[in-house]
Every structure is written in C-alpha cells, then in structure tokens.
Amino acid sequence: MSYIFQTIFYQPILNLLVFLYNVVPGHDLGLAIILLTVIIKVVLLPLSKQSIKSQKALQDLQPKIDEVKKKYANQKEEMGRAMLEIYKENKVNPFSSCLPLLIQLPFLWAVFRVFRNGFAGNSLDLVYSFISRPESINNVAFGFLELAKPNIYLAILAGLAQFWQAKMMVTKKPAIKASGAKDENMMAIMNKQMVYFMPFLTVFIGLTLPGGLTLYWFVTTLLTALQQLYVFKKKNGQNQDGNVVEGQIVK
C-alpha cells in the first residue's frame, strides 16, 4: 500500500521538485518550491475557479437561504430539499463533488510529505534515472532562508495571506443584513471564525513545520487570494454591463 502511494504520488512530485531545482538559475530551492506551487495551482485551476465563482453567487442568495433555514428549522430532510429548490431556481450549483476531492487527497498528502521530508538522508534515491541527480541540495533559499527548519517569518506571512483571503471573501458580501445584530446567525459567526481564527491556526501550525512547507503554504494561499481578487473584479465589471453571472449554471 505505501509502496503504491510512493510510486504513484510521492515520487513524481519529488522528481518534479528536483528537476525544477536543477533547471532554476542558481539552483535555488526556494525558487523551485515557488515554481512547483504555481504548477500545482495551475493544474488545479479549473476546480478552484468554479468553486470561487459559486461561493460568490451563494453569498448573494444568503437572504433566501436564511428564510428557508428558519422555516424548516426542525425538519432537516425538508430543509435540504427546499434548499436544492432555491439553487435550481437561481441556476446556481453550490456543490463541488466528492470524486475530485477524494482523488486530490492522496496527491496533496504527497506534496506535504515531499516538503516535510525535504532532502534529508537518502531521499534522493527516489529520483528517476533520467533526471540528473544533484550531489546535494542546498536548503538555503535566496541566500538567507533556511528551508529545513521552521521559520517564524514565513509562518506569519502565511497567516497574513490567509487573513487577506478570508477577509476578502467575507467583506465582498453585499450588505444584506435585515434586522441588525439579531441576525448574527451561524453563518456570520462561522465567517468571523474563518477570518480571525484560521490565520492564527496557520501561524501556529506553520511554526512547527519546516520552512519549505510553510513557503509552499504561503504561496498557495497568496495565489488563491489573487485568483479570488481577479474573479471578484471581473464579476463586478460584468455586472455594470448588465450581465448577471451566477456561478456555475446547472445543466
């Protein structure tokens, strides 16, 4: 089982990283990690684009959703069906699907393992024969960042990026509050948690991980935030032209 995992998921990612390390000018591991992150992000682009779009569309539907939630407060089954009805009426598909997620999971786990293990010991034994195997890998990025040890600055940067991303998702929400503070429902509380709690968690987890992994985390979050910014900007622009974009349309 672990052998299959290693061959299918772990080894390709490790090799890609070593390959990037070989070709990147100055053989800089930090640059190689950033490049690898960008590549992974681009591969997953279609999935994340769809999900950001539909998240946005859903926030615009929030009042209707709240109404249904109140109406069927005690009937879970009924509530679910009514919600699906709303989504259908508004041509929004809020859902992702389990299969792509379950396929991604081992892949993400492999990315995590590659960065966590780093290049200690004989991990370079797994490099394919057609990729030139470096004598040793320099763990210092840009001449000053030690990537094998936890790095507090990278952890804080990752937390800040997380904060920016979550904050943008929440504050771009149109003002829909009807009756003041009473309306601070579960959703709002959860959003607040997401904005303030998650960045802290990110910093604390980041502090325990090798800098290389934290760097990966930071770049991923930053790219997600930028992508989100782009989607929101584009959406607002189209609204001015009178075109309403509503997430993914149910076929």
Binding site: Q50, Q55, L58, I65, G80, R81, L84, N93, P94, F95, S96, S97, C98, L99, P100, L101, L102, L105, M187, M190, N191, Q193, M194, M198, V250, K251
Partner: protein, 84 residues
Amino acid sequence: MLNLIYYPRYVAIKIIKIYQKILSFDHGLLKIFRPYGYCRFRPTCSDYAIAAIEKYGFIRGGFKAVWRVMRCNPWNKGGHDPLN
C-alpha cells in the same frame, strides 16, 4: 463468533466517521470553508456510505458507496438520492 462477521463493517463505519470529523467539508471542522455544503448529493456521500454499509454489509454496501462516489462528479446533476 457471530460478532466477527460484523467487524469489517464496524471498522469501515468508524473510519468514515473519522473522515467526516477531520477531512469532510460537509460534516466536520472544515465545514467553515464550505458553509453551503460540498457534496452534490443529499444525503452526502459519506452519510450514504455509512447507511449502505450498515444495511448491506461491508462488501455489498461498500460497492454501493463506491458507486455513489463515482457518480459524485462534475458531470452529474446531483440532488436528492437516498439509499434504497
């Protein structure tokens, strides 16, 4: 001895429940990222899997669960899909 035959389904359900707590965007902690739900079916794939394994056992229920996850892809409309 009779209990032994129920062992696989017991373990499988436990594992799915742990998945729900830790990894699932529909049930556990990660729900805060997807407050509107993730799975395109109701009941969700993991709830469906638990029910299927409870009712049909590890092998037959397991196949039903796998088939449900296979259907949970971007080309499927999703919706209400109870176990039968």
